[in-house]
Symmetry: C2
Amino acid sequence: MKQITVYDIAREAKVSVATVSRVLNNTAPVKTSTRNKVAELIQKYQFQPNALARSLLKKETGMIGIVLPDITNPFFPEVLSGLEQEARKQGYTFFLCDTCSSNSDTREQYRRESHYLHLLLEKQVDGIIILGGRIDLVNPTEEMVQELLEVSKRVPVVQVNGRLSGSSMHRVVVNETAGAEQATQHLIHLGHKDIVMIGGFDHMSNTVARVKGFKKAMKENGLSIGADKVIYGGFSVDDGRRLMDELLCRKKRPSAVFCINDLTAIGAMKAAFKAGLRIPEDLSIVGFDDIPFASHSIPELTSVSLKCNELGRTAAEMMHRLIRKEKVKKQITIEPDIRVRDTTGPFRG
Amino acid sequence: MKQITVYDIAREAKVSVATVSRVLNNTAPVKTSTRNKVAELIQKYQFQPNALARSLLKKETGMIGIVLPDITNPFFPEVLSGLEQEARKQGYTFFLCDTCSSNSDTREQYRRESHYLHLLLEKQVDGIIILGGRIDLVNPTEEMVQELLEVSKRVPVVQVNGRLSGSSMHRVVVNETAGAEQATQHLIHLGHKDIVMIGGFDHMSNTVARVKGFKKAMKENGLSIGADKVIYGGFSVDDGRRLMDELLCRKKRPSAVFCINDLTAIGAMKAAFKAGLRIPEDLSIVGFDDIPFASHSIPELTSVSLKCNELGRTAAEMMHRLIRKEKVKKQITIEPDIRVRDTTGPFRG
DNA sequence: TTGAAAGCGCTAACAA
DNA sequence: TTGTTAGCGCTTTCAA
């Protein structure tokens, strides 16, 4: 099963390898008869040039590395889909590097992130798109920052929805604070006054941004924002359930809950149902992310759409321009939209 | 930003490139003092050898191509996660090729599949794992079969849950017929006699396999399996909704519905709720796949677990052995398990 | 224990 | 319009 090369084609066509290369890449005029002869042989042997050799020479591989924390979190496939759509047009392919945050401790995850970052560099990717993980940290360690910075000196790096400091890095982000504000505003408009926000971690910037929006909306409407109005504790369905259970133990339960994401919102709904509450009659719930599940749940979840697909497409486009050394804005911000569905309703004294 | 090479290291260490290569790969004894000197320089310059050059020479890249139809279908991320877990141990990285079946016609999808298959070959992947798409077709065109066959002559190919003919291809499959049988049996045990199966397409082998299991269980229990007991029509939530609406228009509606997958089951539930039915009191529903959503829905969906994670891990392991030319079984079959939850209940005359 | 040199498969500059 | 040739960065004989 010897691999066919340009030499084999050249020999049989009685031309030089340069000519074969020329018909392969349409890089210089070739007499029609020669071209046909070569093309025929290429066809006959199903010859496919070795991309490694080509890339080695040209110093571009058409490969982009994607580093993300957990592909089973539905947020990421949505973004990925947008990325793929856009990047395919440009002829890129993806290395998918999942650091599997879900089944290991965080230290391990960051180690894997480092591992993948270096691996991608070795593989000579044209650029790296990073989502989640360290770029979501409010206080990343110096090494984490330094490492990514080093990486970004070698190849373009685009951060998706992250804010890790470092001047040489570009990013596309969603205005999460505005999204959280919208969500809170929506609840307030419905007459809710006692609103609690649940989920997330206060060491993560996405949580901080969302809490900020929540508090801002509350404050602007003259509503109380005591310490008991925000309960941190994670991003999963189970976390949502747990936090809601906690909430339901309080003497006075809120009339509306704003969840850090759709997954916790689902967990919260489950806990509420189990406690015999009706949604939205007894309790309004808002999610965040607007993953497909949100519109599939019963009742359908009101959520803030992060426009994942657009996020992905924008990141891919940014990367493309970066690779071609075109002028690119340091940061592109996407404005989220609230999608009102069936889990929020008017406050009933 | 010139790339550092073994030559730079060699020059500064006053040794030959061969020696640098030796310390890099631990491939031959090197005097400790020389080794240290070289190692130091490698550290100093953060030197990372160019994987392209190495792969070109060694004829192995440590890259595996994954071709799948739609990353936003939650089934695939689950499998992918298993794949990644296993393959990471072996030091492989993935090319993710999403043919985006969801937003384009099927012809276009198969064209993209071909495109990616060839691209992966050019990139010199060590193997290709293919999920969905053409391998799910009952009657693929001759070209589709031929093309994949050609590919499999060049690199190992593992089909995940597919049955495209071709002797040189390995596969790991789930026994879907048995799964469907279990699901149907479960409903029958609950006393249901009028059971309808909805969703899927009869030109796809997964549908055929599941319908077969459904019919088998029905027949074995002496239940009718007239033409009106199976309604084809797709795999999405919307398809499920539509098909259930159709079903509800019938004079006599069934007491239980077996859905081709969890997505259609969710659609079916929505339609049923909208029609004022209670689940499971008025109607029992079973899904298939057991995506995370199944256990998150309200009420929680009874479903047949395809053990996606195990599927992925097994495929990765198979690929690994194939690459190392170890002995590998042509086919590995995974037995599914039903997960009984809250959407199925006893028949109530 | 080390170095010189060939070569992986390709492209592109230069020459013809 | 075509061929010759020099690399791309690495590993691996073979010889010293």
